[in-house]
Structure formats: C-alpha cells, structure tokens
C-alpha cells in the first residue's frame, strides 16, 4: 500500500471549458451535419441540436483561478494523470487484467451528486461501470471476444490500449452539466484507483464454470459463456470464496467551482500563468499532444513558456507538436529558442534533426543526432533515425552499421529490421535482405487483424469511445 500510494502517479483537476452552441460561420462543404451520434451513458438518447459546438477557452489551472460556472450550462472538465515514479508504462505487466481507472465525482454543497464517472457497481464490490476511463489493454480474440481470462494465447486484435508512458501524462475529458438548482458550490473530486484484477476475471478465476450447452473453447477464440457458480470450497489459499479485492486509491485531486447566475458570469476563459504552475501546464499539454490535439497542446505549452521563459522544455514541446503537424518553420522557431536556453539539450537536438531530415538536409540532421547519441548511445529511436537518414543518402553499408546498434539493444526492433532489409536490398545482398524481411514480418503487427474490432466496436459503444484518441466521458449516474 505504501509503495502504491507513494506519489508514483498524480492527478490534477486542471481546468474546465464552457461548451457553447455557436452559429456556424464557415459553411461545411459536405452538407448539413447533425451533431454526434455519441452513444454513451445517458446521452445515448439525446438528439443534439444542429449547429457547430465550439469548445470555449479554458478556466484554469483550478485552485489557481477562481472558476465560476453557470447553472444549466455544460462544461468540459479536464483532468490530468501524470506518471512520476514509474520507470515503464503505467500500468505495466498484466495490463489486460488490471482494473486501473479514473473516477470523477461532482456534488453541490447539499451533498447531491451531480456527476459521477467511474463508480464501482454493487456498492463498491462489483465491476467498474463500463463508461469509465480505464488504463488497460483491451484485447480481442479471433472472434472479437474480449480477452478477460488472462488468455493471452487467443489475442488476435486490439480494441484499444491506454497506458501512460514514464514521466508523461494523460489528459481526460469529462462533460458535465450544472443543474439549474445547484446548491452552493460544485465540489469536484478525481481519484485514480487500482484493483489488482478486474472484477470479471476474479469471479472467473475463483468460480468460473462453462455455461451448459455453450460452444467449446478453441485456441483462437472463446464464443462460449461462463457462470460463476463453481464450488469455491477447494480453492487454494485461505479465503474459500470469491474474494472482494481491495481497491487502492493511488492519487486524488479536488477542486471547487463557484456557481453564479448568468447575468454576472463571465463566459470567457480565465487563466493565470504562474511560475509554479509550469508543470501543470506542461503536463496538460503532454496529455493533449499524446492524443493528437496538436492545437490544444501547442497552446498549453505556450502557456508553460510564459510561466517560465527560462525552461527550455516548454519550447521543445511546442517544437514537438509542430513537428508532428508538419509545420517545419514553426518547429524550427521553437527549437531555436530551446537550444538558445540550453545548447546541449538532447531532446531539442533530436527534434531539430527531424526538421532537418524532412527538409532533405541529411548531413545537418545527422550532426544533431550525433549530439544526442553522444549523450544517449543506447537510445534506439535515435539510432534508428540515424540509420534511416544514412539509408536515404544511399550509404547502405554505413546505415547497416548504425542499425546493427539498434538490434544490439533490442533484437526484435521492427524499424531496424525493416530498414536493414531495404539496405541489403540496395547492396544487392538478397539473402541478407530476405533474412531481415522474415524477421520484420514476424515481429510486425498484422494490420488486417484490426478488422476484428469492427463488430465489437458497434456492440460496445463505451469501449468504442475509449478507443478514440480524443473522447469525453459523461456521467454514468442514472437519474
């Protein structure tokens, strides 16, 4: 418990944005569109009104600014989960079987719950409600059944995977409506929970039996169903029943929102850029960057640079967002600032090399990569980049030497095998090229297996929602 609760991850209710219906000024060229057919939780039956929905500017960081909300209005609540003392992806290991999820609850001063995502059913003993925000790998077997029994041998496709890299962040979006009769303030509480095994897996492991008349298991899929009626009197261990696994709260965050009447409420964004909030802004931006919201990420990183103009990482991260978009000039401008602050910063050199390579300035790109390699000789992403540039220069033998460095770090590195195949092809060494082609094909993902997710996505709208890089969670509380 001490280990789990030792600030290995943190949660930050970062900010909120009013969600406003605005008149569309730019006519959509593909004809009139209804708003989302988003079918999660209670919003499944809502027919959203026609017209564009704009996410208005942010109020945040919360507990730094005095955020005010209006009764009857809807808001996007932004919660940031950050890994701190983890040297690998979080969670790691049996990521198919954990219950790791974020809970957000909001109540007014009368104690009435007005929003709740991520509750545990059956008074805390059952499964986590299915529209919560999970950190896990949801895999499917050959027939689209979820891998829920630690039956990894049957994994054939991936519905989604959400894990937080070390020292990185995830930005979670919730959509919350303030009731017209809210009493006092709105009190938000976000908690990151951990349960060693998901509820279903625990039931199955202790008392799972094949439902009578059900199809037999195959090595590729399990179309049958299970009942939890097994005799637990003979299970190993001292508890002779299906245990109620403890739920540990790894981190939590609270924030308070003032509620005010429409006439006196500022409907605009409200932010404060304080030196000590650099990390809050940067973490928020990292979460957005990893989702592909490059616009939001660049804006958040810009705030970070305003909070601390001397911290080069804010500029590096603006550069990253721009590199990802393909805005080379914009990336260069940001990275130049980072390098001016910290000329040896390996991160800045790395992204700079990406800009130069995209411009065909291969020698200059390599020069920057060599700076990085001198500091991090065992970073295989960097080695792969160097190998790729040498390949593009048609210096096949040199490229091969560089790419061999990658294989010494990870003999299964996909990108290295792919580019080694091409290099040997360039040298005319067909046998060697085919050796690497074999390994590349062996280790690569099977793109076509993604088709297994199609029917699953249709029948599991909550998991389909989780799959979207950018998505929102509604309250699962039924009125």
């Amino acid at each position: 418990m001490k280990f789990l609760q030792n600030n290995i991850v943190s949660v930050d209710i970062f900010g909120i944005s009013p969600v406003r219906e605005v008149k569309s000024s730019t006519a959509s060229l593909s004809g009139p569109q209804l708003a989302t057919t988003f079918a999660v939780g209670e919003e499944a039956d809502l027919q959203a009104a026609a017209g564009d929905v704009e996410v208005a500017p942010l109020m945040g960081p919360l507990n730094r600014v005095d955020a005010v909300v209006t009764p009857g209005e809807t808001y996007r609540v932004e919660v940031v989960v950050r890994t701190r003392k983890v040297g690998h992806f979080f969670p790691g290991g049996t990521v198919d079987a954990f219950d790791v999820w974020l809970e957000l609850q909001a109540s007014d001063d009368s104690g009435r719950v007005i929003f709740w995502s991520g509750m545990v059913e059956n008074g805390g003993k059952g499964p986590v409600e299915k529209s919560a925000h999970f950190y896990r790998s949801l895999q499917l077997d050959g027939n689209g059944n979820p891998i829920s029994k630690r039956n990894a041998w049957a994994t054939r496709s991936l519905a989604y995977v959400r894990l937080i890299p070390p020292g990185a962040a995830d930005t979670v979006h919730y959509r919350m409506t303030i009731p017209n009769d809210a009493v006092g303030r709105i009190n938000l509480k976000a908690r990151l929970h951990y349960r060693k095994f998901a509820w279903w897996n625990t039931q199955f492991a202790f008392a799972g039996e094949r439902a009578p008349g059900t199809a037999a298991v195959t090595k590729d899929y399990d179309n049958g169903s299970w009942v939890f009626s097994g005799d637990t009197s003979t299970v190993s261990g001292q508890i002779k029943s299906i245990p109620d696994l403890p739920i540990v709260t790894l981190a939590e965050s609270s924030a308070t929102l003032k509620v005010d009447q429409p006439a006196s409420t500022k409907a605009h964004g409200l932010t404060k850029v304080d030196f000590s909030d650099w990390e809050r802004w940067n973490d928020y931006g990292i979460g957005l960057l990893l989702q592909g919201d490059l616009k939001g990420a660049a804006a958040a990183f810009t705030r970070a640079t305003e909070a601390d103009p001397k911290n080069p990482d804010g500029f590096v991260n603006i550069g990253r967002a721009r590199v990802q978009e393909g805005d080379l000039d914009g990336a260069r401008a940001a990275l130049d600032k980072a390098l001016a602050l910290s000329p040896n910063l390996a991160r800045a050199h790395f992204f700079y090399s990406r800009v130069l390579r995209a411009e065909g300035r291969y020698e200059d790109a390599l020069a920057h990569l060599r700076e990085v390699i001198a500091q991090y000789p065992r970073d295989r992403v960097v080695r792969n980049d160097a190998g790729r540039i040498l390949f593009l220069q048609k210096k096949y033998a040199e490229a091969i030497r560089e790419l061999q460095n990658v294989l010494e770090i990870d003999p299964e590195d996909l990108q290295a095998h792919y580019n080694l195949m091409l290099c040997y092809n360039g040298l005319g060494e067909k046998d060697r090229a085919e050796e690497h082609e074999k390994r590349y094909l062996r280790f690569k993902a099977d793109e076509s297996a993604q088709a297994i997710t199609g029917p699953y996505r249709i029948s599991h709208p909550e998991d389909n929602n989780e799959r979207q890089a950018i998505h929102e969670h509604a309250s699962a509380v039924l009125k």
């Binding site: 060229l29 593909s30 004809g31 569109q33 988003f38 411009e359 195949m421 690569k444 029917p455 389909n464």
Partner: protein, 544 residues
C-alpha cells in the same frame, strides 16, 4: 520612380521564381466553359464513409472528333433518402472553349453511387468505353459512335456488391485485348458504419482499419465482349487490401505491365508481372509498402513515370496530412528510395492531404512535373490542428531536371492559390493548343477546369492506334529524341485517384519544333521507328 523600381523588382522575383517561362498561368475557366458539374455526396448527417471519397473525372474523346470531352462520376441518395436525382455526367467539348452537358443523349443519365472511372476501348472498335466503379455494382458502358450502353451483365462483370475505387485498363497478358484491374476498398454497409471522432464530440469520417478489406479484381478480356475473373489464378487475390489508387507501370522494364496498389492502412502492393499470366508481390522488399518506420499508412493517389530519365519509372503516392507525398525513386535494382525529403516535394506536402496526382510536363521543357489535388477528409481536423485545413490549395512542382523539384504553385496564377476540398484530378489538352490543362474535382462541390496559358515551348503529341496491340496502345513505350536528349513514356490507363487523364502522350520539346527520332515499342513485340516528326497538332501513329 520608387514604384517603378518596386514593380521591376517584383517582376524580376516572379521571373526568377519560375525559371524558364514566367508567363505561364493556370486560369480557372470553369464558368466560361459552362462546366456545371457539382458533386453530390448523398450526405444527410450520418457521415457515411463513401461520402468523403469521391468523385473522379476523366478526359475522354467519346465522339472521336479530336477534342477532349469530360466525364464525371457522381454519388446519389442513400437508401430511404429522396432528396435529389443525381447521375453520372458527360460534357461534350464544343471546340470553342465551352462544353455542353450531353449526359442524357449519350445514355449516361444513370443513378449510381459512383467513385472511379477508367477509359479504354475494350472491344477494339475505335470508340473509347467507360468502366465506372461504385459502392454496389460497377458498370461497364460500351461506346458505339458516341452513345453508351450499359453492358455490365452481358460482359460478365455483374457480381457481388463491392466498394470499388480506382480501376485501370491494361493488357496484362499482351494478347491484344484490354483487361481490367479494379481496386476495392473495404466491406462496408450503412448498417455496419462505425462511429469515430476527431475532437471527442462530433462524428467524423473514419479511417478504415476496423473494416475488413477486399481484394483487387483482375478481369481478363475473353475477346468476345465478355470477361472472366482471374484474380486468384493470377496471384492477385488478397482480401486484406484496401485500395484507393492504382497505377500500371513497367517497374523492372521487362516489357510486361506491373501493377501498383495504393492501400489505405494496409501495405501498398507492387505486383510484378511474370509474363506467364501471373504476378508476384514485391512491395515489401522494394520499400514502397510502408512508412520509414515499417508501418502501413494511408495511400490515395498514385502515378508512375521516369521523371529523371534514369530508364526506370519512379512512383509517387499521396499520403495523409502530417505526412509527405512519397516520391519513391526507382533505383533500377528492385529497390525504391524515397526522395521526397530531398526535393521540395517533401516539405511542401507535410501540411496537405493529397488525393489525385500525376506527372505531366506543364511547361513543355521535356521534364515531367507534378500536380497534386489536395483536401482533407473531415472539416473537424481544424479543431485539433492549427495549420492543417479542410480545404487546401493544390500543389504544382516543377522538375528542375536534376532529379529534384521546386514548388511553383505560388507563381502560376491566382486560381492555384484557391483552397478546395480536392479529390480527382486529370490532365488533357482540351483547347488543342498543344499544352496540358488540368481538371480537378472537389468533394461535394464543383469541378474546376484550369486552362494552361502562356506556354511558349513546343510539344509532340501522339495518339497511338494499335493493330495487333490493343487499339488504345496501352502498354506501348515511346522514346522521343530531340537535340540529343531522349525522353521515355509509357501510355497507360489508371493512375491519379479515381480518375484518368487523356489517352495521348505529350512530350515537351522545349524550343525545338520537331523530334529528331521516335521509337515505339508495342506490347505485341513490334517496334516502329520514324524520324523528323514535327510538332503541332496530334500525330496519330498506327502500329505497322
């Protein structure tokens, strides 16, 4: 005085920006040409996958009068919706810069959710026929003296309902009759349409990875007006493909036509013809199948040409936004190396999403340039990316003759600066002035006809007529030598995206007025040679 100097400086800059012929402009003549086509997607709020893909366009001389006419594919209402009647459209060239809608008279007023088109004379009767791909049943329209008849059933092409995209005519077995290759995208129905979102709130058009793919189909011409499906026996059956673009090329220069498939979220395929009725897939080893990380990406439009006179055709494939156009240079040994970063093509195409594309010599200097029609698939992209827009201007890249290109879109007239949601694109000399004009389609919007003006260089334009070879001359390789320099082009159907350019080869001669020598290698094996072929008009060369 100051303003005079400023004017001189400005014109000097624009001259330098466009080394060669500063006067070249592409003029938008859509209105004055009377080209009234507007694409109908059938969209009614559900954002069905096919809606964002089309339409395609083809230059076709359907009445054989020596003037290029225009054909457009079109969508229609989805089942249960009755908002509009929309059909395919054919516009006849009036020889005076204007066009007339002759759809009904030509027998093409057909409602079908169409996407792509391939133009070819499959029955060798002298009239170019039309193959139209669709969501549902593809159609073969046989042309008899300017009137089209739907012969899909009689030709044996009626079959399972598929989601077909680009197609091309080619004589894969070199028996003198055109066969047909048809790309298929995914297995999709309105009932299995998936929800996805770019911004977390609104539905967007989805990428296709969660849908099952569908194999390309190869139809062999039986020479009696019917076709047989030889996909499996030819080694082309692959149900994981999700094809959007097709190019026919001779990748290894063995005189047998090869096939390149641009697949979306699946590896691109390079099928090398073995000369014995079959193909072997070499895409992975060749380096054109994946991104540089070894990961499949989107691939929409495609073309192949020997742009640097290396003796081998290189390949370009348009990709998604945040990704470069791929310019795979054919090294001649089975390997392709992406030259996009080293040329202006890479940098300029990062912020655009390309669809239709082709190599063409717009300034007639003897070096093949590039045109790309751009446009995103969903307007919601602007909510999460700052520089990427839904509507985007096209690209024109001028070949510098040193194996590289320069971006010249900015200096070719205001019409090219206009952002549009571009899709199909084709080139053709519609005003018969010897240079290549461009037609572009937009998704859910009007077509755009761009007339090439101000070219002072000369061209040699060649129409091929096969006798033992298929009548169009597809697959024939023409080498033109002028002033000691030799250019090579292969006449083919397909390429670009859902579209087809005119069936005429254009060689830029620069300031010269004739080609010193010309050689045609016909797929039949025959080789014809001639010398001192003068520029001007279209030269018709018939296989001896």
């Amino acid at each position: 005085m100051k303003s005079l100097i400023a004017a001189l400086v400005l014109s000097a800059i624009s001259i330098l920006a466009q080394s060669g012929q500063p006067s070249i402009q592409f003029t938008d003549v859509t209105k004055s040409a009377g080209l009234t086509f507007v694409h109908y997607t059938g969209a009614f709020g559900k954002k069905y996958l096919p809606e964002t893909l089309g339409p395609g366009v083809a230059f076709i001389d359907y009445d054989g009068d020596g003037w290029q006419d225009l054909f457009f594919t079109n969508g229609k209402d989805w089942p249960g919706q009755h908002r509009r009647t929309a059909t395919l459209q054919l516009f006849r060239n009036n020889h005076n810069g204007t066009f007339t809608d002759v759809t009904r008279a030509a027998g093409l007023a057909v409602e079908v959710y169409a996407l792509g088109v391939a133009v070819g004379d499959y029955d060798n009767d002298g009239d170019d026929d039309l193959f139209v791909t669709a969501v549902g049943q593809n159609r073969l329209f046989r042309n008899t003296k300017g009137v089209f008849a739907d012969v899909t059933k009689e030709a044996g092409l009626a079959g399972p309902s598929e989601f077909s995209t680009s197609a091309a005519w080619l004589d894969f077995d070199r028996d003198g009759n055109l066969d047909l290759i048809v790309g298929n995208y995914v297995q999709w129905t309105p009932e299995t349409d998936l929800f996805c979102t770019l911004d977390g709130t609104r539905k967007s058009y989805c990428t296709p990875e969660s849908y099952k793919g569908a194999s390309v189909r190869l139809w062999r011409n039986r020479r009696d007006g019917t076709f047989e499906d030889v996909t499996r026996t030819a080694g082309l059956l692959d149900n994981t493909s999700k094809t959007l673009g097709i190019a026919v090329l001779d990748a290894n220069q063995d005189l047998w036509p090869d096939i390149l498939l641009a697949n979306d979220t699946q590896p691109n395929r390079l099928y090398i013809n073995n000369g014995k009725g079959g193909f072997a897939e070499r895409g992975i080893l060749s380096g054109i199948a994946f991104s540089e990380e070894g990961i499949a990406r989107a691939g929409m439009g495609v073309d192949a040409a020997d742009y640097d006179r290396s003796g081998y055709p290189s390949v370009m494939i348009t990709n998604f936004a945040n990704q470069m156009l791929a310019l795979y240079h054919n090294e001649g040994n089975g390997l392709f190396v992406d030259e996009a970063p080293r040329s202006a093509v890479g940098r300029a195409t990062l912020l655009t999403l390309g669809f239709g594309c082709f190599f063409f010599d717009y300034d007639l200097d003897g070096w093949l340039d590039i045109f790309v029609a751009n446009g995103h698939v969903d307007s919601d992209i602007e909510r999460i990316q700052s520089r990427i827009k839904y509507a985007q201007p096209p690209h024109v890249f001028r070949n510098t003759s040193k194996g590289a290109f320069e971006a010249v879109t900015q200096s070719l007239g205001a019409a090219l600066h206009q952002p549009r949601v571009g899709r199909g694109a084709a080139y053709g000399d519609f005003d018969n002035d010897g240079d290549l004009d461009v037609v572009m389609t937009t998704n859910g919007g009007p077509a755009v006809l761009l007339r090439n003006d101000g070219v002072s260089n000369h061209s040699l334009r060649i129409r091929l007529v096969g006798s033992r070879t298929n009548r169009n001359g597809f697959g024939a390789v023409v080498r033109v030598t002028a002033g000691g320099e030799t250019q090579t082009q292969m006449l083919r159907s397909g390429s670009s995206y859902l579209s087809q350019s005119e069936n005429i080869l254009t060689f830029g001669l620069g300031t010269r007025m004739q080609a010193d020598s010309l050689e045609i290698r016909w797929p039949s094996g025959a080789v014809d040679r001639m010398s001192n072929v003068k520029s001007g008009g279209v030269v018709t060369l018939t296989e001896r």
